[in-house]
Subunit: 437 residues, 2 copies
Amino acid sequence: MLSLPDAARSLRSGESSLDVYLGEVLETIAAVEPTIHSLLPEPGRADRLRREAAALQRAYPRPAERPPLFGVVVGVKDIFHVDGLPTAAGSRLPPEALAGPEAKSVRRLRRAGVLVLGKTVTTEFAYFAPGPTRNPRNPEHTPGGSSSGSAAAVAAGLCPLALGTQTIGSIVRPASFCGVVGFKPSFRRVPSEGVFPLAPSLDHVGFFTRDASGAAYAAAVLCDGWKPEAVPPAPVLAVPVGPYLDRAEDVARAHFERALDALRGAGFDVRQVAVMADFDEVVARHQVILAAEAAQVHAELFRSFGHLYHDQTARLVSEGQRISRQELAAARDGQALFRRQIQSAMEESGVHLWLAPSTVGPAPRGLESTGDPILNLPWTQAGLPTMSLPCGLDGDGLPLGLQLVAGWYQDERLAAWAPRIEAVVTPARLAIPGTGG
Amino acid sequence: MLSLPDAARSLRSGESSLDVYLGEVLETIAAVEPTIHSLLPEPGRADRLRREAAALQRAYPRPAERPPLFGVVVGVKDIFHVDGLPTAAGSRLPPEALAGPEAKSVRRLRRAGVLVLGKTVTTEFAYFAPGPTRNPRNPEHTPGGSSSGSAAAVAAGLCPLALGTQTIGSIVRPASFCGVVGFKPSFRRVPSEGVFPLAPSLDHVGFFTRDASGAAYAAAVLCDGWKPEAVPPAPVLAVPVGPYLDRAEDVARAHFERALDALRGAGFDVRQVAVMADFDEVVARHQVILAAEAAQVHAELFRSFGHLYHDQTARLVSEGQRISRQELAAARDGQALFRRQIQSAMEESGVHLWLAPSTVGPAPRGLESTGDPILNLPWTQAGLPTMSLPCGLDGDGLPLGLQLVAGWYQDERLAAWAPRIEAVVTPARLAIPGTGG
C-alpha cells in the first residue's frame, strides 16, 4: 500500500488503473479482515465500489482535471454519517435512531474524489466499550480506541487514509498503538457537522495516514482554509516536564528520551518547560465536560434505548446527569483558561512544538481495554493541533508513538514540521521489527 | 397485509403485480420501522429486492409454473446464514467470525420463490440480552424474544412469514406478545443446518405467520416430508394441571379459562390431565443442557471475543463451563425420558393436544427484559410441535396467546387442528382493541 500522496498521484495520472487498484484493495480486505475486523460488514461492497469508480471515471475522463484524491479509498469511523451506509456508532441501537445527513468532512472528501471504502469500527459512541478490532501489529493486543478500525485499517494497508475523532485520545492513542500517523487538527478546524457527538466542546475530527506527508496532503482537503506553509523556520521543541509527563511508564519514557536525543543530535533545539502543575485538575475538568455533555447528547436516546447501552457508556451518562449547569459552565471556563495558559507557556519560553510520548506505553495485551489516553487529554482539552508519529518499536515489536503539539491554529506549521521530525524518529516504514526501538 | 396463503395466491396468479407488492412492502418499512426496529439495516435493500424480483419474474414467466411462495417477502432471524447478508446474531462480534453457508431452511424458502426481505433483530445469540425491537401493539412494551424482530415484522405487516428459532420460548413467547401465530414444529422437523446454534439439543427452527392457515402453508414448504392431513378427527384437548400451569399469572389464567369455556361451548372435549409434578426438575434440567451446550458452542468465540459479550450471555457461558460431561449426559437422558413421559400421559388419558397460556401474562412494559418463557420450556425440552394462536387482548389492549402442543411428529395434525381452534379463540384479525379479552 502506497502512502496517500503516492496513491493519489498514481491514480490521478492514470499510471495506476482504478480497476486494478480496487482489485488490490478488495484482495487486501479478504486477506486481513478475518483477523483484524477493522471494517463494518457491507453486503455488496465490491459492487458498490466498482459502480462508484465507474462514475468517477466518467466524471473525470482526463487526468489533468482529476481532483486531489481521485479514486483513493478511505475508511470512515462509524460515527460519521455517510449517505447509503447506516450509522450504528459502535452501539446496538437501531441505525434509524442515529441517522443524519452526510458529514461535511465526508462530503469534502467525496468532492476531492475519494471512494468510501466502508465504515470502520468504533468503540460504543466513541467512548470506551471496545469493538472487535485487533491490532494489525499483533492481534493479541488492542488497536486502541475509540477510532480503532480507522487506525487498524490504515496500518493493515486497507486504505491510505481514514477518518477518526478524538475527545480524549481517540486518534493519537490508536495511531500510536498501530504504528501509523494520526492527525487531530485544531478544534473545529475540520467541521464536525454530521458526526455523532460524544461531547461537543471536546470532539475533534481528524484522520490517519501512513506518514506525515499523507497527513499534510489530507489536511489540505479536510481543514477549513488550509494555507500550506512550505518551509517554516526550524521549530524549538519543548518537553512538558511535571506531573503530566510523569504519567508515562518506564518503557515509553525511556523510548521518548532516546527520541529526544536523536532530535538533539539532528540539530533541534529541545527545551524543558514546566507546565500543568495542576494536571489532576485538568483531568477532573475534562471528565466533567465529557460526562455532562454526553448526558445531554444521549438524554433522549438513553430514555428510549438505555437497555442497549454498554455499562461503561451508561455509567458516563448517569454520571453526567448528576452534574449541574453551574459545574459544567465552570469547567468550560476552566477549559478556555487552560488553552490560554498553554499558549502563554509556549510564548514565554519561546517554544513551537510540545513533544511527548503518544501513550503511556505500547498497546496493552487483550481487547477488553483500549488503553489509557491520559497523555492525550490536555492537548485535546486545549484544542491544539496534535500529530502522532510512529517512533519505533518496543522489545516485543509493538509500536510506540511521539506526539507533536503546536499552537492554536498552527496546523499548517505542524504539518510542515512533522516530516522533518519524522525523518529523525520514524524508522523506515516501521516494517522491520526492532528498528528504532 | 394479506395472510400468507392469500399473498402467495395473488402473486402466483399475477393478480398482484410483484412490483406493486414490493412497493407496498417498502412503504410499510418506511412507515413502521422508525418505531419498531424489527429489521437490521441493509443499504441498498430496495435495489436488491427489485433485482431479485426481476430475476424471479424472468425465471417464472408463466403463472402456472410458479412455486408456492413466488415473490413473497420473508424476514429471517439474524442467526440464520443468508448468502449476501452478514450474520451478527444480535451480537457485537464481527460477522466474519460467525459466517457460514446459507441455512437449509432459507434455501428451501428460496426454492419456493421467496424474496428475503432482510435479517430480523434477535437477542444476543438468541439468549436473553435484548435488541432494539419494540412491540408493534404498543411500542412501550417488549416484543418478546429471542425472535423479536421476526414476530414484530409479521405483526407490523412487513412480511407475511418470518423465520425464528426456539430454545426455551423464543417463538411462542414473541408470537403471543405481538399477537401473531408462532409455529415451532417437532425437534429437527425443519432442518437447523446453517443456523448459529444456542444449544443444539434444544434448538428448534420455526416461524411466524398472521394466522393458522399461513402456518400450515409455510410448514408444507419448510418441514421435512410434510404430508398434509385435511380432516383429522376432532382432537381431545388437555389442560396440563399442576405446578406447571400454576406459573401463569392471574390475568393469563383467567383469560385461559375463558378460552377453555369457549372451546367447550364449541363442542370440544376438554380434559384436565395432571402432569409435570416434577416441574422444577424439568426447568433445572433445561438450564443444564442450555448452559453446557452454549459453553461448547461458544468456547472458541468466547476466548477470542469474550469482551464483546453481553453480561447475560457471558454468565451463561461461564455457568456452562462449570458443568461436567456427566451432568450434561444425565440431563440429556432426562430430556429423552421426559419426552416419553409426556407422550405416555397423552396416550393414557386419550388426549391429542395440550392447551396452555402461551405466556405467564401479556408483554411486560419496557425493553430491558423479553419476558418469561417458563410456560414454553417443557414443550421445547420434549421437542413436541407447538403453535401459539392469538387469543384476544387484555384490558390494556395487549395480546395474549394460546399454546397448542401435539404429540411427537404430529405436526400435520396440529396444523390441521389449529384453524378449528383459532376460529373459536382468535377474534377477527385481532385489530379491534378489547375483542376477545
